[in-house]
């Protein structure tokens, strides 16, 4: 899971992984194979969910939206029908809605459609950018639980969020981004108990607990400060699997 504040480069990173942006330098590898910038067929087993609902064509019916990624696979209509039913069940999407037009749905429903569409190609890797940020907690719980079930079944997830607490409860590893760089990367437990980079420490310090007195203390004691990254720093492995930019 990648966390960081707006402008830190999380979305740009996702868009680069998706092949929508060309990196000025550097390479991306998937399962050990080099991905060419913009090469669509190499990204066949990656699914993407982007933030915002504009990614779905508002004029198509939900069935068309969800089944669209299957077009390249030349399946029979029965198979397509079957797959759509399966992913609808996974994404808690009512099947009677499949004939509705995407433009008429609420934000929560649209994210369910986006999830169903992403799962239909049975991807190896799912990249979701601020997938639940615009949603209410109850809906977030439904969708995140679906993702976690898929993860148990072997799906690899790369999630992007600004919600550190959400990351705490679902991610195995977390990368913290700041000013276009990954400043720290470690297992969730390690980052929770021993954040080493100043920015990570600040980010952890402003998380509000649900206990009113403790939360009030966090707010009252907060002092803003600037984090400046060294110009020629690099990620260094401090501990096994725990990398810090310094």
């Amino acid at each position: 899971m990648i966390v960081g504040e707006s402008g830190s480069g999380k979305t740009t990173l996702c868009r680069t992984l998706a092949g929508l942006l060309k990196p000025s330098c550097g390479q991306i590898y998937l399962k050990g194979k080099l991905l060419h910038p913009g090469g669509g067929h190499e990204r066949q087993d990656i699914s993407f969910i982007f933030q915002g609902q504009s990614a779905l064509d508002p004029q198509l019916t939900l069935f068309e939206v969800i089944a669209e990624p299957l077009r390249a696979q030349r399946l029979s209509s029965n198979e397509i029908q079957e797959r759509v039913s399966v992913v609808c069940a996974l994404a808690c999407l009512d099947e009677w809605r499949l004939n509705e037009v995407a433009g008429e749905l609420s934000g929560g429903q649209l994210q369910r459609v986006a999830l169903a569409r992403a799962l239909i190609i049975q991807p190896y890797l799912l990249i979701a950018d601020e997938f639940t940020s615009a949603l209410d907690v109850l809906l977030q719980a439904q969708l995140i639980n679906t993702l976690l079930e898929q993860k148990e079944l072997g799906l690899t997830l790369l999630l992007v969020s600004h919600d550190l607490q959400l990351a705490h409860c679902i991610a195995d590893r977390k990368a913290v981004m700041y000013a276009g760089r990954i400043v720290e990367i470690a297992s969730t437990d390690e980052l929770l108990t021993r954040p080493l980079h100043t920015y990570t420490q600040q980010l952890c310090a402003v998380q509000l607990p649900l206990e009113p007195l403790a939360a009030r203390r966090v707010v009252e004691q907060y002092t803003p400060s600037q984090v400046i990254l060294p110009a020629n720093g690099a990620l260094q492995e401090i501990d096994s699997g725990h990398w810090v930019f310094c």
């Binding site: 907690v137 977030q140 719980a141 976690l148 600004h162 607990p209 707010v219």
Partner: protein, 351 residues
């Protein structure tokens, strides 16, 4: 936290509001009784579509024209001991007099609240002059004072920038400066921290607390962020399906929630969830408010609900002098306790 008095500054009295829609009327508010007390921060929490923003906008008549108040009352108390002003009976001119001077509002999207091609300093000055400050130099001075009070770094430089040249947190603070320009008694804050980063959010909440203690501002804070509400609010009201379902001190709501909706809302927060386990969840969607049943809409999603929950509206049972919840679960036939009805207690949770 007994600093705030029980004297109300804003009172919603069984307020009902609906939107005309091509598929029938949408009952956005279905009888909300609630008071904002002088000098308190009252947070309203709930999912989107529960009516919390509609309630806030109803105060200043900011809802779109399709919205119509169909019942109840809405009162503003300019001074503690004078007769209240009936906000529903004001004409457009009187409402304009009130907006910004007595009651001000800040919204989630500061980008839309500010004019994109006028410097923020000029926008604050123009609001100051609209609110009676005729002297331009004094207005500029006051504008810088406001920016300093909101702890913007280098106020003189910030004042000359365009909204697009500021960060989200800075822009939100400029919008707040405009709201505070008229020295209002009441601040209506609609999701003002939702679009901000964790650090900027913390900063904004800190400012709200300072405004409350230093300026004795009464704040109605609408948010879906329960942790932010917990941090700053004296009282928290929980809304669902166009109704208030529970109200109490921050501690009471977060530590002893009694309405089933409040309970699942708190349990589903990532901050409350256990690591590595699925988030506690409840099936179903937020309710549609066309022709809603008389009872509690959450009963449709609550596995433990009884028939009465759906067919008859539950009264508010008072759990303490400050805490009340509207659910039949608290009726003495079902829980064995004799809780009094909250609306019979003067100065109780709903007053």
């Amino acid at each position: 936290m007994g600093v705030s008095s029980i004297v109300p500054v804003l009172r919603f009295d069984a307020l009902e509001l609906s939107f005309a829609h091509r598929r029938g009327n949408i009952a956005a508010l279905r009888g909300v009784t609630l008071s904002l007390r002088r000098g308190e921060i009252l947070a309203l929490v709930g999912e989107s579509g529960c009516g919390k923003s509609v309630l806030l906008k109803a105060v200043l008549c900011l809802n779109p024209g399709r919205a119509q108040v169909t019942g109840g009352g809405l009162y503003y108390y300019p001074q503690a001991d004078t007769a209240p002003l009936d906000l529903l009976k004001l004409n457009a001119l009187q409402m304009r007099q009130l907006r910004g001077r007595q009651i001000a509002a800040v919204f989630q999207d500061s980008e839309l609240a500010l004019h994109p091609s006028i410097s923020v300093g000029e926008q604050i000055v123009s609001q100051l002059r609209r609110c009676g400050q005729t002297d331009k130099h004094k207005a500029t001075e006051r504008m810088l004072q406001l920016l300093t009070m909101l702890e913007l770094p280098d106020p003189v430089a910030v004042a000359q920038r365009l909204p697009s040249q500021l960060s989200g947190g800075q822009r939100q603070r400029c919008a707040l400066a405009i709201a505070l320009a008229g020295e209002p008694q009441v601040l209506l804050a609609d999701e003002i921290t939702s679009a901000l980063d964790p650090r900027a959010r913390c900063r904004m909440l800190q400012l709200l607390l300072q405004l409350k203690t230093r300026q004795h501002l009464s704040v109605l804070l609408v948010t879906h962020d329960l942790a932010a509400a917990a941090a700053v609010a004296d009282r928290i009201g929980v809304m669902y399906g166009g109704r208030l379902v529970e109200i109490g001190n921050a501690e009471e709501i977060l530590n002893m929630p009694r309405h089933p909706y409040t309970q699942v809302l708190i349990a589903a927060q990532p901050a409350a969830a256990k690591r590595g386990q699925p988030l506690p969840m409840v099936a179903g969607n937020a309710p549609l408010l066309c022709d809603p049943p008389q009872g509690d809409l959450f009963a449709l999603r609550d596995p433990q609900a009884r028939v009465i929950d759906l067919v008859q509206r539950a009264p508010f049972f008072a759990l303490s002098a400050t805490h009340a919840a509207a659910t039949w679960h608290l009726h003495n036939m079902l829980c064995g306790q004799n809780y009094p009805l909250a609306d019979t207690i003067p100065g109780g949770p709903l007053d």
